[in-house]
């Protein structure tokens, strides 16, 4: 039977078009129920004894949710308890129209066999199709269609009642009007909440219920009212006319009332503008990483970013408090320091993801509303409704803002949980590799085939060896050095040929491209490629044949490169050494075997190379790296030490740099448009302000005009009786630097690597742990004719997009690494109790100093104003910068003594607490280390 559907729609040019679609009605659409004998269906989805233990419906029944129930309560529908559900086509279409993510989730549920969700195409069924009537809105028509379908089902199933015990169909709707009409039609209908609450066996489902609209009103009636977000259409016209700016919202890590929005400039002027946002009202409910529209405030209202560290204290704080804190921000700032300031007027794209955190249980015992504090400080607190507060408190939970997920992760402070949290928080993909990815791994046992040998140079006779940190299983580089007949040296860098195993475009490649990098946490490694590759087939272990990509130079004794060549090869490493072992071999004059000779040659050349590099202006920067000694059983840290650097470290590094530069030059010569390179932009001069000021306070002058000048003045910077000064200065200099980034040569013109003082650079030497290197391998392989190219490799836009992901993953992995170190430091101090240590002032802030403890490579903040104490007299001077507390004046680099303890009063953000011991300032410093822990004291005061 043919019907036509007619509707009018607006065309893009502003016209109006009448659209007529043919709509066929059929009589061969089956009901999908097991009990039905009339429908000639081949397989059934809905079960005969559809039992969900509900106190409302004691008989077997099928559920029919309406559109709004699906849209808002998809969390409920996804629960394994809920099965035997009929999803009407009307509902499916409406859901698809209104929310793509929910539609996707619904589709997934339907495809799951055990869930027994049946899609009934009621719109094409001869008996259930209805036409819209005059005066009926589209929604009313759909509601009616749903009711008609439910009616049809209940009558259809009634026919077979004789052999079942009253199978019924239950409509779930939250719409009062719809419910009333359904009842008038004699249908079984419940509100979603009523029904879920009636599921006696599964009370935990109730928490997954999203708030219905009348509940929501209650919440918004609280005190801080935010300005309405503008509708998208107004935002778009505003952006077009230039009255609003669009950018990514980044909340400040230090101050929860402050954020910046990075606005990408228009056209050629593609510099980023930062717009400062201050105060709750102006932040206007934007969450970190949202894409927002901002409106600039008049110039007179511009402010400077405050250097106050403000932490949202987690406990339910009154709004007055927040206002007070806002007041604190509005300090008179020098005119020059003011920045463009604006307010958020609308949100273009929410960037919500599930957040980890903890529940702050409400003080009122019966209350079901609690605050959730996310682990990430830049995410605001979220209000949650649950009846399981007592079970959830003290647990790490996951919360999705748009849905109603509350998943346990485990007890807070437990090591595995914390690791999971920091991986999630830094968006590190850490799931096990999927079957699809693993299917692209080579079949074991694996051996080098004769065809491989044909195409590759056989370098197995060479004395190749690898030098790595102890315990390293993903060895991606090996070296050799030998004397040639003409007196020159041949040096080879052999890199694991990962691109041989990971072919472009397959699932394995895509997964690696997404992960971007291997993430190293303390005592744990999140691999970029499956372990079979990372620790076995690609790892250049000793005494096995391995595929490699080799870069071989002919070098004279002055370390000048005479010839460079690249080749795919087969190598057989003779030894896997640690840095210390290699160092010992070099130093041990009794040893004279091939490996040692090779190492000595390498070491000699490396020294010359390094000197040359430093002469060119490469920077030697410093950052303290901490290494934990782990207990072999519990994997708890038992001791920590800062990483020691040996000559061999720098030897390996030198040749890696050389290989990277050679390869960068080669691929850029070959593919000027699409070479993947790495650059390190020179920092803007203003970045150095803090460094220059700090050095000046010790009467040392630092020149920052060029990398060379900086390197020289850092080398010259020495203060008598303060041996650690140079290191501190280098640490500060490191903080001034820009991030090095990957980029596609066709999209940029500035290739310079500032830190290495090299005109061109890339990453070639660690393909096992970095995806960028894989791409570089492919490019190089094409350049030497060893492999074929593929379209994406030559597409500079695709490459550029890839670079963005790699840069993001790289940054996140660094953050995760840092967070992991911080966590282990906490664990360490937890077991140690209170310690007294000497440290240096690294930064001076308005209300605090940041102290570095060299022994642990640990940084901490010493606050001078605390909530429950009378604030001492603090004077902050921008020039200097110095901070006077009572009589004492703090400068950068001042030596101080602090006590270190773990503050676990807030279990969510356990932090290292530092308190001043020396210099002694009455009322500020703490007298002795072994008194009661300040954390406890604070607790009692409350």
């Amino acid at each position: 039977m043919l019907k036509s559907k007619t509707f009018v729609k607006k065309t893009r040019s502003g016209g109006v078009m009448k659209v007529v679609r043919e709509h066929y009605l059929r009589d061969d659409i089956w009901c999908g129920s097991e009990v039905c004998t009339e429908c000639k269906q081949e397989s059934t989805v809905l079960q005969k004894d559809a039992c969900m233990e509900s106190s409302l419906c004691s008989y077997p029944h099928y559920l029919v949710p309406d559109t709004n129930v699906v849209l808002h309560q998809i969390d409920i529908l996804e629960d394994p308890v809920i099965c035997n559900v009929i999803i009407l086509q009307t509902v499916l279409q409406e859901v698809r129209h209104r929310s793509a993510p929910v539609y996707k989730r619904l589709k997934d549920v339907i495809h799951e066999k055990e869930k027994r969700f049946y899609t009934f195409t009621n719109e094409h069924h001869r008996d259930t199709f209805i036409e819209r009537e005059p005066g009926e809105s589209a929604n009313d028509r759909n509601d009616r269609a749903i009711r008609v379908a439910v009616k049809w089902y209940s009558q259809h199933l009634k026919t077979f009642e004789s052999d079942t015990d009253g199978l019924k169909v239950v409509l779930l709707t939250n719409d009062q009007g719809n419910k009333q009409k359904a009842q008038d039609n004699g249908l079984l209908v419940y509100k979603c909440e009523e029904y879920v609450k009636s599921l006696i066996a599964n009370p935990e489902l109730v928490d997954r219920l999203a708030l219905s609209s009348d509940d929501k009103n209650e919440i918004t009636s609280s005190k801080v009212l935010f300005p309405e977000h503008l509708p998208l259409s107004r935002i778009q016209t505003g952006i077009k006319s230039g009255s609003f700016l669009q950018g990514t919202f980044r909340a400040s890590r230090d101050n929860y009332l402050e954020a910046t929005v990075f606005v990408q400039g228009e056209g050629e002027d593609s510099t980023e503008v930062c717009v400062l946002i201050q105060g709750l009202q102006n932040l206007n409910r934007a969450v970190h990483q949202d894409v927002v529209a901002v409106q600039l405030l008049p110039r007179s209202e511009w402010v400077a970013p405050s250097s106050v560290v403000l932490q949202d204290e987690g406990t339910a704080k009154d709004d007055e408090d927040a206002e007070e804190e806002e007041g604190k921000l509005r300090t008179a700032a020098a005119e020059a320091a003011r920045k463009p300031t604006g307010k958020v007027v609308g949100i273009i794209k929410r960037n919500w993801r599930p957040f980890c955190g903890m529940l702050n249980v409400s003080q009122i015992k019966e209350s079901t509303r609690h605050l959730f504090t996310p682990a990430e400080r830049r995410i605001p607190r979220i209000r949650i409704e649950t009846r399981q507060a007592s079970t959830l408190s003290g647990q790490r939970i996951m919360v999705a803002i748009d849905g109603w997920n509350t998943n346990f992760l485990g007890g807070a402070g437990e090591k595995d949980t914390e690791e999971e949290v920091l991986l999630l928080e830094h968006d590190v993909p850490h799931q096990a590799f999927s079957q699809a990815v693993l299917s692209f791994l080579p079949k074991m046992p694996w051996a080098i085939t004769p065809e491989d040998m044909m195409k590759r140079e056989d370098l197995r006779p060479l004395t190749v060896c690898s030098v790595d940190p102890p315990g390293c299983t993903d060895i991606d580089d090996a070296l050799h050095c030998r004397e040639l007949e003409n007196g020159n040296l041949e040096v080879g860098v052999h890199i694991a040929d990962v691109s041989h195993f990971i072919r472009p475009g397959n699932a394995l490649d895509k997964e690696a491209a997404n992960r971007g990098t291997t993430v190293y946490l303390c005592g744990k490694r999140i691999d970029m490629v499956p372990e079979l590759l990372s620790s076995n087939l690609c790892s250049l272990r000793s005494n096995v044949d391995r595929l490699a990509f080799s870069c071989i130079w002919e070098i004279n004794h002055k370390a000048e490169i005479l010839k460079t060549r690249f080749t795919k090869s087969v190598i057989n490493s003779k030894a896997s050494l640690t840095y210390a072992e290699a160092q010992m071999r070099i130093d041990d004059t009794n040893k004279n075997d091939d490996i040692t000779k090779s190492l000595r040659g390498l070491n000699k050349l490396a020294k010359i190379l390094k000197r040359q590099r430093i002469e060119k202006g490469a920077l030697t920067l410093s950052s303290l790296e901490v290494r934990f000694h782990m207990d072999s059983e519990t994997h708890d840290p038992i001791d920590l030490q800062t990483k020691e650097l040996m000559e061999t470290n720098s030897m390996v590094e030198e040749f890696m740099l050389l290989a990277n530069i050679s390869v960068a030059q080669k691929i850029y010569d070959e593919f000027p448009e699409c070479a993947l390179l790495r650059k390190h932009p020179a920092p803007p001069p203003s970045n150095y302000d803090i460094l220059i000021k700090a050095a000046k306070s010790k009467e040392v002058e630092v020149h920052t005009d060029s990398a060379k000048a900086l390197a020289d003045s850092l080398d010259a910077a020495k203060v008598d009786g303060f041996p650690y000064f140079n290191t501190l200065l280098r640490i500060l200099a490191t903080r001034c630097m820009m991030q090095a980034v990957y980029f596609c040569s066709g999209m940029d013109s500035d290739f310079h690597h500032y830190g290495l003082a090299s005109p061109i650079y890339t990453h070639f030497t660690s393909p096992i742990r970095r995806y960028a290197d894989i791409i570089v391998h492919r490019l190089l392989a094409v350049a030497i004719g060893a492999d074929t190219t593929y379209p994406d490799l030559m597409d500079k836009h695709k490459q550029s997009a890839l670079c963005n992901n790699l840069n993001y993953r790289h940054k996140m992995s660094q953050y995760a690494q840092r967070a992991s170190v911080a966590f282990h430091t906490q664990l360490f101090f937890k077991s140690r109790g209170i310690l007294n240590e000497e440290g240096f002032v690294l930064f001076v802030r308005k209300n605090a100093i940041i102290v570095l403890i060299p022994k642990f490579g640990l940084e901490g903040t010493v606050f001078f104003d605390s909530k429950d104490k009378v604030s001492p007299n603090i004077v902050f001077e921008e020039e200097g910068p110095t901070l006077s507390v009572e009589q004492h004046k703090f400068h950068i680099f001042d030596k101080v003594k602090v006590t270190i303890s773990l503050d676990d009063s807030n279990i969510q953000h356990q932090k290292i607490r530092m308190a001043l011991i020396e210099p002694v300032i009455p009322g500020v410093s703490v007298p002795a280390p072994d008194t009661e822990r300040p954390a406890k004291k604070q607790k009692l005061d409350r």
Partner: protein, 291 residues
């Protein structure tokens, strides 16, 4: 136009018959042939009608589109006419054969219908000077058996009666930009007032008398004809002489009087019929082109 060859004897027969008010098919001089009307026959249009008059068959579709009003009359919409002479109607229309006739017809139709006395053009205005409805009236000749003008005019009136224009309203934002918003209810639409829409009556001078609704044979006997558009009140809105011969003032006067009379009588049953059909709504059995 489609013509037939008529022999001398036939001519005399026809002429004599008309003189005695008895035409070849038994009609009187002021009688129409059997007429069939069906509206809403093409679902893609906003209004449509099919009219058969004897063996003449025409299909008219009205499409409403948003356009810019003419600068001279910024507060009014307008109509556009296009007549497609299908080669189905007669082999003479093959290729570009029907073009000349089509242009001639559409020009006449434009003169007759596109004025504010026939249709309330102001109601087609959406936003003065910026947006208005343009009604594209497409006429398709399916079969030619004489008296095209009358059949087309009746079909146009019926199609306009049937036309449903979606309701729109203008919303303006503070920047002065205007946005057209559509109602999402397909039943929410505007109807045209067709009360004053005229019908065309063609009078053919045959011998000393004149006939309405001439067949092709009668046409062949005529030297000149007069087309008159008449409203339901009997007002003549347009008059035009077609054909090679000449008409004397007296017979023109007679013919207009007859035209008025016939035209006035044509409107009442037509409107009654259309309203009756409309009232059936969805229950109406559609005949379409196969019936």
């Amino acid at each position: 136009m489609a013509t037939v060859q008529v022999s001398e004897a036939e001519k005399v027969y026809i002429l004599h018959g008309i003189r005695d008010d008895l035409r070849v098919d038994g009609r009187g001089c002021e009688d129409y042939r059997h007429m069939e009307i069906e509206t809403d026959v093409v679902s893609n249009t906003d209004g449509s009608a099919k009219v058969t008059l004897g063996h003449t068959a025409v299909l008219v579709g009205v499409k409403a589109e948003i356009g810019k009003p003419r600068p001279a009359v910024p507060a009014e919409g307008y109509l556009e006419f296009f007549v497609d002479c299908s080669a189905n109607a007669t082999p003479e229309f093959e290729g570009r054969g029907g073009e000349e006739l089509g242009t001639k017809l559409s020009n006449t139709l434009y003169k007759v219908f596109n004025n504010k006395r026939s249709i309330d053009l102001k109601s087609l205005c959406i936003c003065a000077g910026e947006h208005c409805w343009v009604l594209y009236v497409d006429v398709l000749l399916l079969q030619c058996d004489g008296n095209l003008y009358d059949a087309i005019s009746v079909a146009i009136k019926a199609a306009l009666f049937n036309t449903k224009i979606p309701k729109v309203h203008i919303s303006s934002d503070e920047e002065g930009g205007k946005e057209i918003e559509l109602s999402d209810d397909p039943y929410d639409c505007m109807r045209l007032n067709v009360e004053n829409v005229p019908c065309i009556v063609t009078l053919c001078k045959v011998g000393h008398r004149h006939v309405v609704d001439a067949t092709l044979q009668e046409k062949a006997c005529s030297v000149a004809s007069l087309i008159i558009s008449v409203t339901h009140k009997g007002t003549i809105t347009c008059m035009r002489k077609v054909g090679g011969g000449s008409l004397d003032p007296e017979s023109i006067f007679e013919m207009t009087e007859a035209g008025k009379r016939v035209g006035k009588a044509l409107h009442a049953p037509l409107i009654k019929l259309l309203e009756q059909e409309e009232s059936l709504g969805k229950k109406r059995q559609k005949v379409g082109f196969l019936g």
